[in-house]
């Protein structure tokens, strides 16, 4: 029997609240205290399915850290262990 390996760190959909100025202030109902880092990933742009994401490493008010990204292809937000 052949099975495909299970990939780790798969993105999961997230509800991200952004204020009028574009600043993130909540993820899945948890308040954002600070944006620690922000970076962009552009990959496979030479293929029919390019990948372009804006990543944010967040410090939540409750003390946890969280990485989310906005996928430019569908405009949706995802959380990801990164």
């Amino acid at each position: 029997m052949t099975t495909e390996p299970r990939h780790l760190y798969a993105p999961a959909p997230a509800e991200v609240a952004v204020d009028a100025a574009g600043a993130l202030f909540a993820v899945d109902g948890a308040a954002v205290e600070a944006v620690r880092e922000e970076w962009e990933v552009a990959d496979r742009w030479w293929t029919p399915r390019p990948l372009r994401r804006r990543y944010f490493e967040l410090a939540l008010a409750e003390g946890r850290s969280l990485v989310v990204f906005r996928d430019s292809s569908d405009g949706r937000w995802y959380r990801q262990r990164a």
């Binding site: 990939h7 909540a26 990933v41």
Partner: protein, 307 residues
């Protein structure tokens, strides 16, 4: 708001935006000996527009803040039940539960509190039991957040830094990180080594430690090989602690030696677990493309090999 409350010495739990709970017991002595003094301090800290209430439980304090007095409608529980443990997997939603209770004539918290535990469990399952506990004033203790800590050190690199110079830069970063006063003697659980690249952009790699450590030798040993994956000349190196563990007096170091007996024991354990739990019971992390900037391409789970 949470930070401001922590500024008056409160250990704050905040699981919803714009809402925070803390225990006043330990603060009365600081603010005049009674709860009114603590409330006044909190109001001063967060501003006059915030609603503040006192109560023996979160729900009681919430009702007090909203100036709700008995009889309190059960509908008030809807928001309190959303997002709780198991809520996502529950068959009944908080809204459905409230509607069902009201249809049965259970319209206030007092009435709800009088229903037997067995009846609630049979009819509404875990969500019903949560509602019942809230109505009866039975809540879990507060879980104050751990204030956000950021233990990070950065060093600027002269142009052309490479080889041994980079190793030394890492040694320096490790020493600085371990010497940071906010570490307070605690061990580190993992590290993130990052760099600003001369050509633009950034690079970073995470390194777990296997077990908590504050040994500079262990940290340098695990970080040195990661420098080899640096994709180009860097202008700065940064080292961040990913989680802090308990203080350790023994300063655990990587154990070397005795590999063959260890391999044999591990092989026996693998076979035993497989025979009782099935082939998928033991998996290993297979690095697929650790250098990818897309995290889901980094690694995959595959069956742990027979030894």
């Amino acid at each position: 708001m949470v930070r401001r409350l922590e500024g008056i010495g409160a250990a704050v739990e905040s699981e919803r935006v714009g809402e925070a709970f803390f225990a006043v017991d330990g603060l009365r002595g600081i603010y005049g000996g009674d709860s009114a003094g603590v409330t006044a301090a909190a109001r001063k800290a967060v501003g006059g527009r915030a609603r503040i209430g006192l109560g023996a439980t979160r729900l009681a304090a919430y009702l007090d803040a909203r100036e709700l007095r008995p009889p309190v409608p059960v509908a008030i529980l809807r928001g309190r039940l959303e997002g709780g443990a198991g809520a996502a997997s529950a068959r009944t939603s908080p809204g459905d539960l409230i509607v069902a209770l009201e249809r049965l004539g259970v319209k206030t918290l007092d009435t709800l509190a009088g229903i037997s535990t067995d009846q609630m469990a049979d009819r509404f399952g875990p969500l019903g039991l949560r509602a019942l506990r809230l109505a009866r004033g039975e809540e879990e203790p507060l879980r104050p957040r751990q204030p956000h800590e950021d233990l990070v050190e950065q060093i600027a690199l002269p142009e052309g830094t490479a080889g041994r110079q980079l190793d030394r830069a890492v040694e320096l970063l490790v020493d600085r990180l371990l010497a940071a006063p906010q570490r307070k003697g605690r061990t580190l659980l993992g590290l993130r080594l990052g760099a600003l690249l001369a050509a633009g952009g950034s690079w970073s790699v995470e390194q777990g430690l296997g077990r908590p450590s504050a040994s500079p030798r262990v940290l340098r040993l695990v970080l040195a090989p990661r420098l080899a994956t640096l994709p180009g000349p860097a202008t700065a190196l940064r080292l961040r602690a990913l989680g802090l563990g308990p203080p350790a007096a023994d300063q655990l170091e990587l154990a070397v030696g005795g590999e063959e007996p260890r391999r044999r024991r591990l092989g026996e354990a693998v076979r035993e677990v497989r025979s009782t739990q099935g082939a998928e019971a033991l998996l290993k992390v297979l690095p697929v493309d650790p250098a990818s900037r897309v995290p889901e391409r980094w690694a995959a789970l595959t069956p742990f090999p027979e030894l």
